[in-house]
Symmetry: C2
Subunit: 335 residues, 2 copies
Amino acid sequence: MEAITIKDIAKALNLSTSTVSRALRGSYEINNETKKLVLEYAEKMNYHPNPIALSLKENRSKAIGVIVPEIANNFFSQAINGIEAVAYDRGYHVVIFQSHESYERERSNIQHLVGRKVDGVLISLSGQTTTVEHLQEIQKRGVPLVVFDRISNDIISNKVIADNFQGAYEATEHLILSGRKRIAHITSPSLLYTTNERLEGYKAALAKYNIPFDENLVRYCGFEPEDAKQVIFEVLETQKPDAIFTASDRLALDSFAAVKAKGIQIPEQVAFIGFTNLGVAHLLDPPLSTIVQPAFAIGKTAAEMLLDTIENKQSNAAVKTIKIPTEVNLRTSSE
Amino acid sequence: MEAITIKDIAKALNLSTSTVSRALRGSYEINNETKKLVLEYAEKMNYHPNPIALSLKENRSKAIGVIVPEIANNFFSQAINGIEAVAYDRGYHVVIFQSHESYERERSNIQHLVGRKVDGVLISLSGQTTTVEHLQEIQKRGVPLVVFDRISNDIISNKVIADNFQGAYEATEHLILSGRKRIAHITSPSLLYTTNERLEGYKAALAKYNIPFDENLVRYCGFEPEDAKQVIFEVLETQKPDAIFTASDRLALDSFAAVKAKGIQIPEQVAFIGFTNLGVAHLLDPPLSTIVQPAFAIGKTAAEMLLDTIENKQSNAAVKTIKIPTEVNLRTSSE
DNA sequence: ATCGTTATCGGGAACGTTACCAAAAAGGCA
DNA sequence: TGCCTTTTTGGTAACGTTCCCGATAACGAT
């Protein structure tokens, strides 16, 4: 069964396509009787305008694209839910892509999205993304862009992030106040923006309490499943830390598992706090202290910014970076 | 900066659009010199064919649509990864949508996908989906369809599921063999296909060991965050079970949390086993026994079936349902 | 009666691409 | 030389929709 088109309606009712088109969109210059005729027939035949034809003509699609490294990550899936909540309300569809931490995939996704004429793009950069030319490219093409969480200083656009500095500062401070001095920081590759902000927060807290910064306690960890385990084993062996502060969802889990696998008591031997949105933190053994990013709010805010620029097309409105506070949840793992 | 089109190339090189088009696709009937000329110019100008125009013309898009209830669910995000792995290899893009357990959203997503001329659809039904007319509709339109996990008997199509019966049977049997007799089964709304299969597995195991089935021990649980908690509290109070077997990712966590909140010892007072793909099961307190669905394999298999039917267009090939075995992971929670 | 308005509709082009049908030039063969 | 192939290219319609420009008729005003 083929979909019915405006032409079919025109033929059936002995009208021109222009008339049908105008009747369907309720134009004032169409006789009420004809209008009713057309609308009823369209309804009866279950007519739906062909969005592809629309996109070709209008160069837009009433859809926005989202690119995240991995949806199997609480932070990102919650952020997407925030995005969808806003987009749905405002009549936009959300097209979700994963970069799988690959720069090539990210490029390919971007290509696909602009090719499909999305009205705007929300992106959180992959762990391998070192250049932002592909983003500048779509900006040159006039596609509105908002970068969130994994941002970059090289791209000039609206951005939304959590207050990573503050979150890391509070996590570190808490560990210090509970008596720890050798606090290991397990974090993502150093080229991620969030990595540096969190590292700065960590350093600032150490400085505040006159604990010298020891770079041997900081470990950058790749995205392979076994990476965290090896890093943790190594840092435990060689540095004998009395606390661990991890910088991401993924690292929190993998590190936590590694520490336990090593038979080390949390928090007696090593206190543990994670920068993570894991919903199960309170059910772990021991319950895990966390710095939680407001993922839903970040997604919501980013989507709102994007849709505002799409709809207002205020091309030269000053770009801004919105920073949203994190939450601290202290549990047994860091007592 | 506007995207360059075939027309621009034609004008620049003083050729017709047909010639350019054929040169770009390497047609044999174009002079090699012209071909080279066109290809080089296209390369230089960074030409990319407009996929929207292509879709309008060809009625296809080299993209498949995926609809799942919720991506913030390990099972579904892993399944999506399986789907993407296959699709990417075979040159298809994957467009991900969430129904958020809403029938209306599911319909809307389907509409959008067929409107955008995806070449096929993979779907796992929402918790509110009681009719499958929207699926039959797209089948009438000739869009290939594969249903996975949350399937329905009302729709005739290729399907991929885990062996829910077997998984539930093994979970229940294990609880029985470890000495439990009053085994509560916390499950999803009864209209889900998986719910019934798992329930049957549960019943079969009881029957095998001559334990009478008591429907008071079976509880159907909605999708609201507080639902599981109340159900668990109630069943603990009134039925005094000595074991709990939960039927989904979400229920495992919520129920586990509720039991612990009630101060009940696992597994001493109540043994616990979940039908879940939680990656953190082994880190919980106590480590959680699970029946794991082969999510990645399910996604992979479903995508392969879909792409095969898309590409072969063997319209009247017999539909089949592929069933993939589950895995049992026994841990402390059910000892 | 003529003219300008208004209400209502149709025709065609355009968005970017491909496919079909020609057409022109060049070459081969009797 | 005349005709038939082959090679290479151009023109145009079509996909579904909207928009611009006209066209027609009715109607009141002059």
